[in-house]
């Protein structure tokens, strides 16, 4: 029997629990960025300096406004999917479910209102087979970016997670500080990480704003996280790439 040879992207993902890749079709990314700029001001703006612009007092309202608009726009969603399609094909497979709503984070300098503390998506009941796609609209580095605790160390934490129950997650962050990676991505690069790795962000201590989208994907036929939740099926996904054999197969199953 033959065995598959893994690509560099696949090898990186297996080793680290995440992989960064260069986006081939930059036009799709430019479309996404332009849409955000249009919703914000109606004209081209430097997103890095968004915090300096007027009218951004309620950041959460701005964030929700963008989320609502983009998620009503199927072309936007398709272009987002297309950006990740080839990489998802390598990492997840070709029959993919996509989270119904794409999420957005805006991280202005020194803002503590939008912090996402250390967590793994599986701890919120998501499937162990799920991946998170992350798309920054600006260059990200240091605390302007997000951090990940590579899979080896995330597994180590998980074994002892309840040991930290009455201490909070900061103690995990401090203990693994040297292993944690703040990811450097240039505009034009995308990130995919497994739902099993611990990740989060810290207060943005740079002088630039970060805009980044996130969306979850999983193989359509991979299991839900039955160990952790009572969920038998998640309603947060919609299937985007069912193959003909599966379409017919599902029709038969649904008849039973």
């Amino acid at each position: 029997m033959f065995s598959l040879k893994y690509s560099n992207l696949q090898k990186k993902f297996i080793k680290q629990g995440y992989a960064i890749f260069k986006i081939d079709n930059i036009q799709n990314l430019n479309y996404i960025k332009k849409k955000v700029e249009q919703i914000l001001t109606g004209e081209k703006i430097n997103l890095n300096n968004f915090h300096k612009s007027k009218g951004n007092i309620d950041l959460n309202k701005t964030r929700l406004k963008i989320i609502q608009k983009i998620n009503k726009n199927n072309e936007f969603k398709l272009k987002y999917f297309n950006i990740f399609e080839a990489a998802l094909n390598e990492i997840v497979g070709s029959e993919i479910s996509m989270q119904k709503n794409i999420g957005l984070n805006i991280q202005t300098p020194k803002d503590s209102n939008s912090l996402i503390e250390m967590h793994a998506d599986t701890y919120a009941g998501e499937s162990n087979f799920e991946v998170v796609t992350w798309l920054p609209l600006v260059n990200v580095f240091k605390t302007k970016s997000m951090y990940i605790l590579p899979i080896k160390y995330s597994r180590e934490v998980e074994k002892n997670i309840l040991k930290y129950n009455e201490k909070g997650t900061d103690i995990i962050y401090n203990k693994y500080r040297k292993k944690i990676k703040f990811l450097n991505l240039k505009f034009g690069e995308g990130l995919i990480f497994t739902s099993n790795v611990l990740h989060g962000n810290k207060i943005n201590l740079t002088n630039q704003t970060r805009f980044s989208f996130n969306c979850r994907f999983k193989s359509i036929f991979s299991p839900q996280n039955l160990k952790l939740t009572n969920k038998t099926n998640s309603n947060m996904y919609s299937s985007v790439s069912l193959k003909p054999a599966s379409i017919i197969g599902l029709e038969y199953i649904n008849k039973i």
């Binding site: 959460n60 503590s112 209102n113 939008s114 912090l115 996402i116 503390e117 967590h119 701890y123 919120a124 009941g125 997670i161 309840l162 930290y164 129950n165 009455e166 201490k167 909070g168 997650t169 900061d170 952790l228 939740t229 009572n230």
Partner: protein
Amino acid sequence: MNKKNLQGYTFTRNKNGLAIPTNIQSGIIRNYCEKNNYNFKLHLDEFCLDGSFIQLFQILKNKKDINAIGICSIYFLPENKDLLQKIFSISKKRKIEIIFIFENIIFKSQNINIFIKEISQIKKINFLTKK
């Protein structure tokens, strides 16, 4: 006048049949903030591992610049009385109010034992008809 900061705390486990998607919980907390003039800080999801309250302790022990924690229900607190004592003691010490939106009760600086009895009483009343 500066608004007080309220940190949302959402619960991911099914508690006595009470299972509310976290985005809905977050919306409820955000709505509470708007009506009561609080500045909403993005909610933290509790881990769904049995017995985990790590994110609640993360807020109580490590989060700065917060005046209140918004939780949908008293049912999202631990049953264990020692753990409850610890939670309310830290909250009292750090002057962080805990607001339970469904039950419309707030823990501020009351006597902790009396407050624990009070929430336990509410739970008993709610389950009077339970077989």
